[in-house]
């Protein structure tokens, strides 16, 4: 094959004529994120669009391009980087990706790409569509909440005897992966495991066998490089700490784990209190703000009217507001109720099952307890949030590095293994 010259962001590159553009770029030291592209699937699926680049300003999937003489492609322009990030955020917003409860967490390709792109939150509201978990197969369990319709299982998976088990069903926005139940029932343990591993996310599970692996052993716990990842741009202007900065914290609809994590700096707390003082917080007895606050750290999303009031109260009194942890950032596990009606949740809690005839049904409802919201809302859908620190919970190091940077301009690197959705 003859070598041709092509251009990435106006830089000349060389590769074999007709080579897939993603591979050709990689040969020239330019990595293009891709989720559904695998060299052995030909033609490429080009379903996920995570590898979006542009030719003459027109967006194209990099995996569907082949290199030719003089080809000019834009890859790392600020717009395209932002576009690719947005596509990943949309994938998260479209499905129900509850990373902290997922078996594939840490081994998930979608998560890994989001880490590499430094995604701390989704700018698009999560749709929380009610999707089914298919328990009908003999051995597999298909969780459609997590399926990103990359089509890998449909195109690539065949049994040892060459038969396809997965297919697409319906079209457009209603597309779903279907399982041939008869064929599935005949699959060997090996084939089943292969199908489970093929799925880049946690949609294909093996009954009783799909489990999260120990932390540290998971594929993406140890990255190839220890480089810092492009997080929220650190504040550049160093501020000289003239006086103690004031910190406030709130726990909304969360589990208090993020507050625990803040305390996990252990003896570092004794150093920290030389730099900052605490105002309103569940860790102090200050119930109303007593002064101007530099930074407010919010744990938990909003599940009731009181959370909303409290969050607005914080926004009013804090210069900078930070969402800490999955619940604050997009609702977290409590948002699993968002696919279920509030009525159904409350009925399950307080009314469900036969009650004696003529009985009065009671759901707690009183002037002294707040009203439950129709669903759980992330903080940034309620007030402006300035920074987001993901994790369930984020590690103590991660939280305080970001806070110190925001307050004092202290330079920091959050290395890949510290950045997690868990």
């Amino acid at each position: 094959m003859k070598k041709v010259t092509f251009y990435i962001d106006d830089q000349p590159c060389q590769a074999e004529d007709g080579k897939n553009f993603v591979d050709a770029a990689a040969e020239n030291g330019i990595s293009i994120p891709s989720l559904c592209y695998y060299p052995h699937i030909d033609p490429p699926l080009a379903t996920c669009r995570v590898c979006t680049v542009a030719i003459g300003g027109q967006p194209r999937a990099a995996c569907s391009l082949k290199v030719s003489e003089g080809l000019r492609v834009q890859v790392n322009t600020p717009d395209l980087i932002e576009n690719r990030k947005a596509i990943l955020e949309l994938i998260f917003a479209e499905g129900n990706h509850f990373c902290p409860a997922c078996e594939k967490s840490g081994d998930c390709d979608l998560q890994h790409l989001a880490y590499e792109s430094g995604i701390t939150y989704s700018r698009f509201p999560h749709t929380f569509v009610d999707r089914i978990v298919d328990f009908k197969p003999e051995r597999l369990v298909i969780d459609h909440n997590r399926c990103i319709l990359c089509k890998r299982c449909v195109e690539e998976f065949v049994t040892d005897s060459g038969k396809k088990v997965f297919s697409y069903h319906r079209r457009g926005g209603r597309t779903e992966v279907n399982v041939d139940y008869e064929l599935e029932a005949e699959m060997s343990d090996k084939e089943l495991t292969r199908a489970m591993r093929l799925c880049p996310v946690g949609a294909i599970l093996l009954r009783g066998k799909s489990e999260s692996r120990p932390f540290g052993d998971r594929k993406y716990d140890k990255p190839e490089s220890q480089e810092a990842i492009p997080l929220t741009t650190p504040v550049e202007k160093p501020v000289v700490p003239a006086k103690k900065k004031v910190v406030a914290t709130a726990s909304l609809a969360g589990c208090f784990g993020c507050h625990m994590s803040m305390l996990d700096i252990d003896l570092g707390l004794l150093d920290l209190i030389e730099l900052v003082s605490f105002d309103k917080s569940p860790l102090t007895d200050i119930k109303r703000f007593s002064r101007h606050v530099d930074i407010g750290l919010i744990e938990g999303g909003c599940c009731n009217s009181e959370n909303i009031e409290n969050l607005e109260y914080f926004r009013e009194h804090c210069d900078i507001l930070v969402s800490v942890g999955e619940c604050a950032i997009w609702g977290g596990l409590p948002a699993m109720r968002n696919t279920i009606s509030l009525e159904a949740c409350l009925e399950e809690a307080y009314l469900h099952s036969p009650v004696t005839r003529n009985a009065q049904h009671i759901i707690p409802n009183h002037e002294d307890i707040p009203k439950i919201l129709d669903r759980v809302y992330p903080c940034h859908e309620v007030v402006k949030i300035d920074y987001h620190i993901p994790g369930c919970p984020p590690s103590a190091q991660h939280i305080w590095k970001v806070v110190q940077n925001i307050l004092f301009g202290t330079k920091y690197d959050v290395i890949y293994p510290e950045f997690k959705y868990d």
Binding site: G254, F256, T284
Partner: protein, 482 residues
């Protein structure tokens, strides 16, 4: 027109609570309530999930005691995987116990040093701005350092076993998924990166001495404050010792008469719950005794009350001193819960030392398999008390039903009694109510170390009794379901 005093939020507890005190025109207390103001509904959305996800998913109930939920769920899921507690390998059981002791140690340390100590150190007249861990660190750096490091030790045990300090994973159906290495073990014995376990035990003995001295000088207050008779509930071993991981449930009344001794998995036969319109948290009670008499305290004080001895020597010596103070009778003094909590911490530290020296924890027989069953009930003593997880699945492994009774739920009635006590004894008939007086309400609540984050997920499928009250507490309508 009467007046309403509101304490909102209740601080230095985990989660969200609020107190209202109703006063009449003459400043007399009419009633007082401790409201749990949040609702998350885990039991509903766990339905429809695969059973093996439960131990990972439900631990998000709580960031302070995730290990308790992880293990309670795991014990239930073991049964669904066809295994009773005795069917697990000794290595798996011991590693889980080690994890649990680490957890109880760190959670108790968090509560005592970070949340409750300001009330004890600074007294009833301290200003709000002073009552927090930062001020403790300034006033008593040595105590703060030890407290921080005791919690750190517990957290590091959890991290070594479960991968991270908060929301780690260790238990899988039928066992655990990771070995504990000799190197990891030795770090805790020798004090590499953390204080050694012997150090922790020494410090705990010292903290208990501090507590006993504190009690000597403050006995009138500690013995009197928010004291009221109640039942007590906790887990024991078959021969009656304090037990945190697995064993039957025992309950006694305020005089020490046994009101329950039953396998924990029979809980459905013995407990029922009450819903009240002014709180999202339900009120459990023993069916045999009814709602008026059947409610129990749970947690450290209750556990010391229902058990006859502690298996580790230093903690047992401390338990005896504690029991002798009440002449061997049941202790109903709310503030003594702090003392009991410290005794449990010493026990945890001793138990951790014993397990670390047990070669079985380094074994590699991690996991057993059995034949799938349709339900599992996991009961454990979480730091705050008896925790019950109950799951049912269909033949494909989908969770069809989930019932959780978290520790703080049992303490709902006791905390409300404590709040009423303070209202009637401190706030009643006062023309001026000070902030310090209101803090006394919270001091009473804090003794129970309530975890309102845990509590706010409870939905429950227990037999239910609902009552509708008017403002004066007169019952105007009732309903039951079984």
């Amino acid at each position: 027109m009467g007046k309403k005093i509101i304490i909102d939020p209740v601080t230095r507890v985990e989660g969200h609570g609020k107190v209202t005190v109703l006063l009449d025109d003459n400043h007399r207390v009419e009633d007082a309530f401790f409201h749990i103001v949040e609702f998350r509904g885990f039991e509903r959305f766990v339905q429809g999930r695969p059973y093996w996800e439960a131990p990972v998913l439900v631990q998000r109930l709580c960031g302070i005691c995730p290990v308790s939920h992880h293990l309670a769920a795991a014990k239930a899921i073991d049964q669904i995987a066809g295994l009773d507690p005795d069917d697990l390998s000794p290595t798996a059981t011991k590693l889980r116990r080690l994890l649990h002791f680490g957890q109880v140690l760190q959670s108790h340390a968090l509560h005592f040093f970070y949340l409750a100590s300001p009330d004890l150190l600074f007294g009833l007249d301290a200003e709000a701005a002073k009552r927090n861990v930062v001020e403790v660190a300034i006033a008593n750096k040595d105590l703060a350092r030890k407290g921080i490091q005791i919690r750190q030790f517990g957290q590091e045990i959890i991290k070594a076993l479960a991968g991270k300090r908060i929301h780690g994973i260790m238990a899988v159906p039928g066992g655990v998924h990771k070995t504990f290495t000799r190197q990891e073990r030795d770090a805790f014995l020798n004090g590499e990166g953390v204080p050694s376990i012997d150090n922790i035990i020494d410090w705990m003995v010292g903290v208990l001495d501090f507590m006993k001295k504190y009690h000597e000088t403050n006995a009138p207050w500690l013995d009197y404050f928010a004291t009221y008779p109640s039942g007590h509930l906790g887990m024991v071993t078959q021969d009656g010792a304090l037990e945190l991981y697995d064993g039957p449930l025992r309950a006694i009344d305020a005089q020490g008469n046994q009101t329950l001794l039953a396998p924990a998995t029979d809980y459905v036969d013995h407990f029922a719950e009450l819903v009240k319109p002014w709180s999202y948290l339900k009120f459990p009670y023993l069916r045999e005794l009814g709602e008026e008499k059947g409610w129990n305290r749970v947690g450290p004080l209750a556990r010391i009350n229902v058990s006859t001895y502690i298996s580790t020597p230093l903690a047992e010596a401390e338990r005896k001193i504690f029991r002798d103070y009440t002449g061997g009778k049941t202790n109903n003094m709310t503030m003594h819960t702090h003392w009991a909590r410290l005794i449990e911490m010493l026990h945890c530290a001793e138990a951790i030392r014993d397990l670390l020296n047990d070669e079985a924890i380094l074994g590699d027989d991690l996991r057993r398999e059995g034949i799938q069953r349709s339900q599992g009930i996991g009961v454990i003593e979480a730091p705050r008390g008896t925790l019950i997880h109950h799951y049912e699945i269909d033949d494909k492994g989908m969770i069809t039903r989930c019932n959780l009774i978290v520790s703080t739920t049992h303490n709902n009635e006791p905390m409300n009694r404590a709040v009423k006590w303070v209202a009637q004894n401190v706030l009643d008939n006062r023309f001026e109510v000070t902030e310090q007086m209101l803090n006394q309400v919270e001091i009473a609540i804090r003794a129970y170390d309530p975890c309102l984050s845990c509590a706010t997920h409870a939905l429950g499928k227990m037999p239910l009794y609902v009552e509708v009250q008017d403002r004066r507490g007169n019952i105007i309508q009732t309903a039951t379901r079984s």
